[in-house]
Symmetry: C2
Subunit: 436 residues, 2 copies
């Protein structure tokens, strides 16, 4: 629902929120969990406004808002807030919006709750009970399917089932995550049996993450008309992938070690409410089947998709030492998804599976139909055959040690303020010694 | 390590622990989380001795043991105890064993800590951060592979990779769990596109669950020689499976909705220490490849496998109303596993993936080589083609509404006391109304 909080003319007394390129204008108000950098302070929920974080523990202390939503923010995670459901969190966002407007009467008090974003460090925004990764870009499914199965790139179920698999919660980290290059079983060219070595085909995947708000009881599927009420918000998600390990291990039960060594998300969760102006019709190309009834609804057709611009950049160790900025590898859009967020929620629970507040769903790699929109190196380089040239003369078929990958995203629409996601940054370290 | 706690002549002052058929003699001492049935008491850790539970909150109150291990049991889950690692939990078990022996000086005091097992209800023993299900019986992999892929039942990676996938934590329940028959996309015979209907091929899977004790840091794989130190204990696990949903959805990313609606575990975790006398050499048949070096160790060869007898029983609604006891469908043994527990831990972490205390690993369906040892209906009935006849004249190709499935397990060895696992019981309810 588009309401007063989306008015593009709203300005904040936090002046850095008012510039046209700000990721976090007053129309956004995303949530994260953070503390002052380098301290032993307790991590606590906060929201972003311009280049500042509004500390919600401090806000509570001021007494300016008294609500169950703010009470739910008094711990070290966002799970209790998420669990309150869409109506409560929407009301909370309206309250926060009013406090941050230029006409707020409480600026002096609220200024005591601000921490510059340049001085914070983040934790995961919530306890992620279960993490599920989907596969919703038909272009990505086709591009990668061609490499694994040249004769049948897109399997018959793809157009009917929002294909997904359960991922690993324990190794999800917040932006800034580093991890050693994984080792694993790899079958070298021309060989039939594997060796255990460091991954040679390490890749990123450009995804959106979807945080569940209110959960559902086991055995009680969420219906399409209710699905949006169970979504708290979105973040950026890098599903790091070891392609050589994946190729050998993935049949018949799917990816496992190829994905479970690390997953990096952006710290700020952009709420469903902030994204309301960027909802667009969910459409399918001519010849594609319609969704089955349990994955269909009128509101899904008219506004099920979300127009989120995505991009991925790389900065190698050499680029860093040469002072070169990150280089953009590709750009895509969440409207490249074959399925909507509501369809993912309805599908996931259609078996009776219960979602819990703070559960994370990955969209799957967002690749578009055209060159330059591929969301992973394996697609850009055609399985490594056509390496990418970087501005300093380096090339990349896959990621090398020291490479930093930066995901970015934003929403933009005529007549509305730009809404930014910030970034999800992760860096590959050399394989750990002693692992074999 | 076999020590005094395994002495078969040890008797307990809890007399029900001393009979030859007791699941929980003083040589076992498994852990669970429970409270008095039908009360609003706080769930708390306990151990089983004969037909009694020893309430560890009450034991703490007596002051008879003062240790970090008992302190770690003062919450509502076993995670803090598990996290202390194998050496601490082994010492704790020795302390508890001494208190429960016939020569204990504290019987009167300890009697105040007992609750009859007939009067308790269970919670999950811990928070299960991540659940991974493996596929370690080569007989099961071959039997089911033949049904899904007649031309290539056993894929080339099977003999090298301990194949596994991430499962769903949220829907794991403790024995006594009921769940509505799942709905899902199913392709009916002769059709190409799916319908959304109640599962017609609902199955169980007879597995062992393995609880992680001390975890490992991300990026630091557990080596084979250390793997046993990261295992807290074992339980029974029923990996309920919707075969028709699985057949349509599982490519290319593995099982998802076909498995995530429910998983049932037994309440009592039999510790690694209690299982020590039942360790046996890990062997492979002639012609099978040896494990790669990172999955090999001398202790794994000499004592990596565990001799656990397993069985599955069914009791239909009609059998219950006729007063008929459960009927045994099959018997198998954990030595049918192609991989050992230590190999699963080393493999899982070999990518750098971190395990956390309380994580659960499923063994995969334990099927043996011979008729009568198949751990799932799909194998027993050859994909439903040869239904099983039950004692009351009913037949089962797959599970029907009202069917109760009961997993059981025990260890037995000449010169040692029998160690029981109790049971994992689950019942299928009719599909929930209104799901589509």
């Amino acid at each position: 629902m588009i309401d007063e909080t989306h008015d593009p003319d709203l300005l904040s007394w936090v002046e850095s929120a008012n510039g046209p390129e700000a990721d976090f204008p007053i129309q956004n108000l995303p949530f994260a969990v953070l503390r002052r950098n380098g301290t032993a302070e307790r991590f606590r929920p906060a929201l972003a406004i311009g280049d500042q974080a509004l500390d919600l523990h401090e806000l509570h202390r001021t007494g300016l808002i008294r609500s169950s939503a703010l009470d739910a923010c008094m711990g070290s995670t966002l799970n209790p807030l998420m669990a309150l459901g869409a109506a409560v969190t929407a009301g909370f966002r309206r309250d926060l919006s009013r406090l941050l407007r230029v006409d707020s009467k409480h600026v002096k008090t609220l200024e005591t709750c601000l921490i510059p974003l340049s001085q914070v460090e983040y934790a995961l925004p919530c306890e992620i009970g279960d993490y599920t990764d989907f596969f919703t870009s038909i272009h990505h499914a086709t591009n990668t399917g061609r490499l694994f199965r040249p004769d049948s790139p897109l399997l018959p179920n793809y157009r009917w089932v929002p294909v997904g698999y359960h991922g690993r919660s324990s190794s999800i980290g917040v932006s800034g995550q580093t991890f050693p290059r994984p080792r694993g079983q790899i079958v070298l060219p021309g060989e039939e049996s594997p060796v255990f070595e460091a991954c040679r085909r390490l890749d990123y995947e450009l995804e959106l993450g979807i945080f569940v708000g209110a959960g559902n009881a086991q055995g009680q599927p969420v219906q399409m008309d209710d699905a949006a009420d169970h979504v708290f918000g979105l973040c950026l998600l890098n599903d790091w992938s070891a392609r050589d390990i994946q190729a050998w291990e993935y049949q018949p039960l799917g990816p496992f070690l190829a994905k479970n060594f690390a997953t990096t998300i952006s710290p700020w969760i952009v709420t469903s409410d902030a994204l309301a102006p960027f909802r667009v019709p969910w459409t399918r190309a001519d010849g594609e089947p319609d969704a089955l009834p349990h994955l269909s609804s009128e509101s899904n057709r008219t506004q099920g998709a979300i127009d989120v611009h995505l991009e991925v950049q790389i900065q190698t160790a050499s680029m860093r030492s040469q002072g070169l900025p990150p280089y953009t590898l590709s750009r895509s859009n969440f409207t490249d998804s074959y399925w909507t967020v509501s369809q993912l929620v309805a599908h996931h629970t259609s078996s009776g599976c219960n979602l819990r507040a703070g559960d994370l769903l990955g969209s799957g790699t967002m690749s578009g139909a055209v060159a330059g929109s591929e969301g992973a190196l394996i697609e850009i380089t055609r399985g490594g055959a056509n390496p990418v040239s970087l501005p300093n003369g380096e090339t990349r078929a896959f990621l090398e040690d020291g490479d930093t990958v930066i995901l970015g995203g934003y929403c933009a629409r005529q007549g509305f303020r730009r809404i930014g996601f910030g970034t999800a940054v992760g860096t590959v370290l050399p394989a750990a010694p002693g692992a074999a």
